[in-house]
Symmetry: C2
């Protein structure tokens, strides 16, 4: 559905009653998580929900990805501690009971294991039968206001760091074309070999199932100004959203794109040969459970990157914050960094 149409509908949700609109400095629809001041002084409720359809074949890894993806919205606000996770599950109604008995426990184990890695337990949820599998969750934190980095503090001179490579959508789609021998694979198979597709798919799976928790923790250590996580609208879409939410009149100029190795070349050639345009190099390829795009003072960005790498993670300097009009763009000829795991 067009994003514009969706946002128009969501306008409907705004309260019409003055009693509910006044005096609430809360952060809501449009950002990664909502932040609601509670009745308890200094304590806010931060929460987020996300659910989607499986995009890889391995149910265990898919459970991990769904969990990482939900938690990522908390981490984007600098919130490291999650108090509770609810599970949202739709079980495909054309699965046999034998299929369910294999797939569902694997999915839940993956979800549970990644939640445990994040220090969270799952204490409820909802399960339905649906034509398609659905997996997702709700992540909630009750935190002191100083645990939250409200994403509005970027200033000219700051820089942008990204903590996971781009390209999860082409990686997943190419792998699907290849394994299902679809019509799209006829062209793609002339541009890329099977090893590269498999490697990109495996690396995408690792990347998508990695928590952004360390990235969030280091935001506090290094004085991050704001952050967002890169998901469905792509790097540029989320960068634009983040730019719009700033207090200062800034632009986010992206000069570097870290991508899963080889996908930049395949994506460029697919376009040239009339194949699918993933818009990867436009920063508009959808990402699933992508990295955090973090705005940092220039003086601490390298230390943030070093700490991420020392902790086993990844991070790259990808852009600059300059005076502007609260938007974002990608350089005409961005530097490409080829990433493997």
């Amino acid at each position: 559905m067009p994003q514009v149409e969706l946002l128009k509908y969501l306008e409907t949700l705004k309260p019409t009653s003055p009693a509910l609109t006044t005096d609430r400095p809360s952060v809501g629809i449009g950002l990664d998580s909502c932040v609601i001041p509670t009745r308890h002084a200094g304590i806010s409720l931060v929460e987020t929900t996300d659910f989607f359809y499986p995009l890889i074949n391995d149910p265990y890894m898919m459970g991990k990805i769904a969990c990482a993806n939900v938690l990522s919205d908390l981490y984007a606000m600098g919130v490291v501690h999650c108090d509770n996770m609810l599970l949202l599950l739709g079980i495909a109604r054309d699965m046999s009971s034998v299929e369910r008995s294999v797939v569902v426990p694997m999915l839940l184990e993956g979800f549970r294991d990644l939640a445990a890695e994040a220090g969270v337990t799952i204490n409820g949820g909802q399960t339905v039968q649906n034509p398609w599998m659905i997996v997702g969750g709700v992540a909630t934190s009750v935190c002191h206001d100083n645990e939250i980095i409200i994403p509005d503090k970027a200033l000219p001179g700051d820089v942008l760091v990204l903590t996971k490579p781009l390209g999860t959508q082409p990686a997943v789609n190419l792998h699907q074309w290849m394994t299902m021998k679809t019509a799209s694979w006829e062209l793609a198979s002339t541009l890329v070999n099977e090893e590269l597709v498999l490697k990109a798919y495996q690396d995408a799976t690792i990347s998508m199932s990695t928590l952004n928790q360390q990235a969030a923790r280091l935001m506090h250590k290094h004085g991050a100004k704001c952050a967002t996580d890169v998901t469905g609208f792509g790097l540029l879409g989320h960068s634009k959203n983040l730019a719009e939410s700033q207090v200062a009149n800034v632009d986010f100029n992206i000069h570097t794109l870290p991508v899963l190795a080889g996908l930049d070349k395949v994506c460029r050639e697919l376009i040239e040969r009339g194949g699918r345009n993933f818009k990867l190099l436009d920063g508009l390829a959808s990402e699933t459970s992508g990295g955090l795009l973090v705005c940092l003072p220039v003086s601490s960005a390298q230390a943030y990157i070093d700490d991420m790498i020392e902790g086993g993670g990844k991070a790259w300097l990808v852009g600059d914050v300059v005076e502007g009009s609260k938007t974002s763009s990608i350089a005409a000829d961005p530097k490409i960094i080829e990433v493997t795991y």
Copy 2:
């Protein structure tokens, strides 16, 4: 899906790490809401999620019902104040953009209006396209422990009160059979007239879209011992769940069934004539956004009922708490109360 199968899967979600299992007196999977102690003394997080598929034709009323249904799980724990609502939405992918532009705003308006009635704003959520429409939400409260009535305090001698009539499923299904002239309507139309079906459907819509907030508020005033809300497993299913969660060895004996007027007779005759068995009089008909089943001291039950009625609601004495083995049953020949709105 069989409840037994579902519960087995959900066992998977229990943490395997000792660090996450010890020292958490939290209430979780299986009850209406989970209750999670936070890092802040005396403050707990109570939350619940529910989503399902539309079951009536009017999108505005359907939005109200979905919202009432989500909040009801908080109310069942005595929690009157909700801090935040997230919306879960799946938009049927075979709707045209014109259909979407009519249906989706109506659905959201209904959801928003009932949230406003409950004093809650909607500050986030997730929207996907799906083969079927999905509507639901997440309700979260950050409350002092004394705002929560942990549902484990029933004692022999207490009584049970129900705050909405039963029969939403037969009301909705009969109306669907009638308006779509399905095969099931051939038999049903010989047992019931169209006015009765329409009235039951309209009354079910009113009932399902009514908040249980007043019922929750009065639980505190009248010293309620525990409660649950009556939804998918029917009155008896939820009564059994509630009995199982008690500390004392009690049984919940149900002697009275308030039902939407006329549905008891239709449901009985459908069974006799080989039609569908809704299990209404067995207390096993699924309910949507049903009432609270509240356990009260015998001394305050009538005052609770009187206060409910004075506030424009409904309530009936439906059962007794006796010594037993933590289960529930319905009398062989229960008293039927015919309910209209």
